[in-house]
């Protein structure tokens, strides 16, 4: 997967006819003189720069792969890496994008989801980015994908060996809310000094009767490192445990990479008398009738009307294709959330 790179465009190390090189030299007291018009003003057509396959240059990909190898070797440990400026905003998935760019090849099939759905704005934007820069095949079908880049969800369908999950991570440090200084949290991880986290969970229980963290719920990886699973709902935490797929986590702004190799123990933190539990709903999905998937709430009117639908849009559609029908399918059709197609 990491070999067989097709170079679609000139390597960035080769000189390219960038705009800046053609700019006129400025005189020593440039504020007094008026240099000739810049190339942009003359409408030069040949100055459009070419980008490397999957945007990043090969040196950078190599650096990221090294960080990935280290991350896989030490599950749950946050590896600092030289995160690059990306043409998408920091905080909008640049960590995940850099990982995907470093591992993707022309033979891959990419699925991008945000909130479990393929058609949310950020997922569409990132999918287009790889269609344009890596000429890669994309899919919405979870089982067809070799790489699944995600924000905030793990698909409902079990993942297969050989599939790679790439998580977009905003805050890689699970202890950050307890200790703002990076120099301190690195020491706490080094010494596995996690008492502070246990105290925080205990205080939660003392105040509210249960742990009130609903997403980005901290996990203990391989019995060693406490890790932030990224802001997936705690509903998805059990799916990470002993998963046959490789799971990679990228935090671009915070410049950290970490990983879960296949078949790694991932335990959500809890207490013997307050065991970890996941979210549950009193009604099934309104569209496909699934009773075991994570549901989003859709407000249907301003009189308190609402319905619950699967957050994993592909899962929901697959079930509807199999003939499952939720109780509110007709309402959803009226709201233009779904439309009936002729078979």
């Amino acid at each position: 997967m990491m070999t067989a790179q097709t170079i679609l465009s000139p390597h960035p190390e080769e000189p390219r006819s960038g705009v800046s090189k053609d700019a006129p030299a400025r005189s020593e007291t440039s504020f007094e003189t008026k240099p000739p018009a810049s190339p942009q003003d003359e409408g030069c057509g040949e100055t459009k720069p070419a980008y490397n396959y999957a945007y990043l240059d090969e040196q950078t990909k190599r650096m990221i792969r090294r960080a990935l190898l280290k991350a896989v070797a030490v599950p749950g440990y946050q590896v600092p890496f030289g995160s690059r400026e990306m043409p998408l905003a920091r905080g909008w998935g640049t960590g995940g994008i850099q990982i995907t760019a470093a591992i993707i090849g022309p033979d891959d099939t990419l699925k991008v989801i945000d909130q479990g759905a393929d058609d949310t704005t950020n997922a569409v934007s990132i999918r287009r980015f790889f269609q344009q820069t890596a000429a890669v095949k994309t899919t919405e079908a979870t089982d067809e994908a070799t790489i699944i880049q995600t924000r905030h969800r793990i698909p409902e369908a079990p993942l297969n060996p050989g599939q790679i999950m790439v998580y977009q991570v905003p805050m890689p440090e699970p202890l950050r809310k307890l200790e703002p200084r990076e120099a301190e949290t690195r020491k706490m991880h080094a010494w596995a000094e996690y008492g502070l986290m246990q105290v925080k969970l205990y205080e939660n229980i003392a105040r509210f009767g249960e742990v009130t963290t609903t997403y980005d719920y901290p996990v203990l990886v391989n019995g060693r490192y406490i890790m932030a699973p990224s802001p997936i709902p705690k509903f998805d935490n059990p799916k990470m445990h002993m998963s046959p797929s490789l799971q990679l986590f990228g935090a671009g702004r915070e410049k950290r990479i970490y990983a879960l190799p296949p078949h790694t123990s991932v335990k959500s933190l809890d207490f013997d008398d307050h065991p970890f539990r996941i979210q549950s709903w009193t009604e099934p999905c309104g569209l496909c009738g699934a009773g075991d998937s994570y549901l989003d709430e859709v407000i249907t009117d301003d009189h308190g009307g609402r319905m619950f639908v699967c957050s994993d849009s592909h899962h929901c559609e697959t079930r509807r294709g199999q003939g499952h029908r939720g109780a509110m399918l007709a309402d959803a059709s009226a709201l233009h959330l779904v439309e009936e197609t002729k078979p």
């Binding site: 960035p12 000189p15 705009v19 800046s20 700019a23 030299a25 400025r26 020593e28 007291t29 440039s30 504020f31 018009a37 810049s38 942009q40 003003d41 490397n52 945007y55 030289g82 995160s83 690059r84 400026e85 905003a89 920091r90 905080g91 909008w92 945000d114 909130q115 393929d118 058609d119 949310t120 997922a123 569409v124 934007s125 287009r128 905030h152 200084r181 990076e182 120099a183 509210f208 009767g209 009130t212 609903t214 802001p231 709902p233 410049k255 979210q279 549950s280 549901l295 989003d296 709430e297 957050s311 929901c316 559609e317 509807r320 399918l329 059709s333 959330l337 439309e339 009936e340 197609t341």
Partner: protein, 393 residues
């Protein structure tokens, strides 16, 4: 079969068209050229070059045009472009002592070798609108007629009394020593010597930073840091959230040449000129039993004419030296992790603005929890109500 209605992609493409339309504005008004922005919005270009970490006036002007004048968005465009550029090496250090001076002022000496050179500055203008700038005549407007006018009767062809003034044509002194160097010759100024072996400076665009951060990392981070953020931090140091009371030793603005030694040649080749602003602050002295008291230095350097940025940077640079001088780091401006992590406006804007992205999965988790806690609380209250009267009896 029912399939989900997916309008995401079409809607996203439509936003691209709408922003292009909004950028152009009223089509009856002539379009701005990149050259106009470069020449007439030079200070905005300087800010974009600083925060975009790329010295290229044309690209800065293009970025401003493309971003409708949004400085942070423009800096973002510069950053995303610069990261794709090949690197062929590091230049020789630029020598600001050899700067071709446009402006040079010192607050610590009334006069000094080379003199005070006021140059172009808004410092002594009255902030009154010059309504003549509303029109677009051929003549150069904005000049003060009481200074530049050659008597009230002399008007030029277009009837405007304001003509280009005769600048003091005398050449500036060839040597303009930097004020901290003058103090340094007397041993009064903290010396700036490279660390052991003069290693290549850290490059925070290629490697992740760790803390405590060394000075090369701090200065680099501040050079690309947000002007407003550093201004606020610098101000906080002055007002009391920090203990420094500096003098502006010197601010100098002008051109320096950049030299590069190609390996195959072995001697320096001049690559061109950069316009730089350098500020050196003279701070209260430090000393010990073994070291005689000396003034301490705060340093700021920025692309283009950007004095506010360079001054803010030099205030925070000095504040961040707290550790080196054994001072308590009680305030934000003295804490490297706070300053370095939060001064990068492209990162900060990305994370703040990502809150616009869908979060309904996580929000649903919160909704499920808060509803359940409230329900359980009501049930508990109800059962307590039933048992209470008996307890009272």
């Amino acid at each position: 079969m029912y399939v989900a209605v997916k309008g995401g992609e079409a809607a996203i493409l439509a936003t691209h068209d709408l922003i292009a339309e909004a950028r152009r504005g009223d089509q009856s008004v002539p379009e701005l050229s990149v050259a106009q922005i470069r020449e007439q919005m030079g200070l905005a270009c300087a800010r974009v070059m600083n925060e975009g970490s790329l010295y290229d006036l044309d690209l800065a002007a293009l970025a401003l045009k493309q971003a409708q004048g949004d400085a942070i968005e423009a800096a973002f465009l510069m950053r995303a472009y610069r990261t794709t550029l090949p690197r062929f090496g590091s230049s020789e250090p630029v020598d600001t002592a050899m700067m071709a001076i446009r402006r040079r002022v010192s607050a610590t000496y009334k006069d000094l070798p080379g003199g005070q050179v006021l140059g172009p500055t808004y410092d002594y203008t009255h902030r009154l609108f010059d309504f003549a700038l509303m029109d677009t005549p051929d003549v150069m407007v904005g000049l003060d007629p009481t200074i530049s006018g050659q008597g009230t009767s002399s008007t030029n062809a277009s009837g405007d009394a304001r003509v280009k003034p005769e600048h003091d044509a005398r050449a500036l002194d060839a040597t303009m020593p930097r004020v901290p160097d003058i103090l340094g010759a007397e041993g009064l100024m903290e010396a700036e010597v490279p660390i052991e072996g003069d290693p290549r400076p850290f490059d925070l665009t290629r490697e992740p930073i760790s803390f405590p951060a060394e000075r090369d990392v701090r200065l680099q981070a501040m050079a690309r840091g947000d002007e407003g953020f550093l201004l606020g931090l610098g101000y906080s140091v002055q007002r009391g959230f920090g203990g420094n009371h500096p003098f502006v030793g010197e601010i100098r603005v002008g051109e320096v040449s950049v030299e590069f030694v190609p390996e195959e040649l072995g001697f320096a080749v001049d690559l061109g000129d950069l316009t730089l602003t350098e500020c050196q602050m003279v701070n209260q002295f430090a000393g010990s039993k073994d070291v005689a008291p000396q003034f301490t230095r705060g340093y700021g350097l920025s692309f283009g004419h950007s004095e506010r940025k360079a001054m803010s940077m030099s205030l925070v640079d000095r504040a961040l030296k707290a550790r080196e001088f054994g001072e308590a780091a009680d305030y934000p401006a003295q804490q490297d992790e706070f300053v370095l992590y939060h001064s990068d406006n492209v990162e900060a804007a990305g994370f703040v603005e990502h809150l616009k992205l869908p979060h309904y999965v996580d929000f649903q988790g919160e909704l499920e929890l808060i509803r359940r806690i409230r329900r359980e609380r009501e049930q508990r209250a109800a059962s307590e109500q039933e048992t209470l009267p008996e307890a009272a009896e």
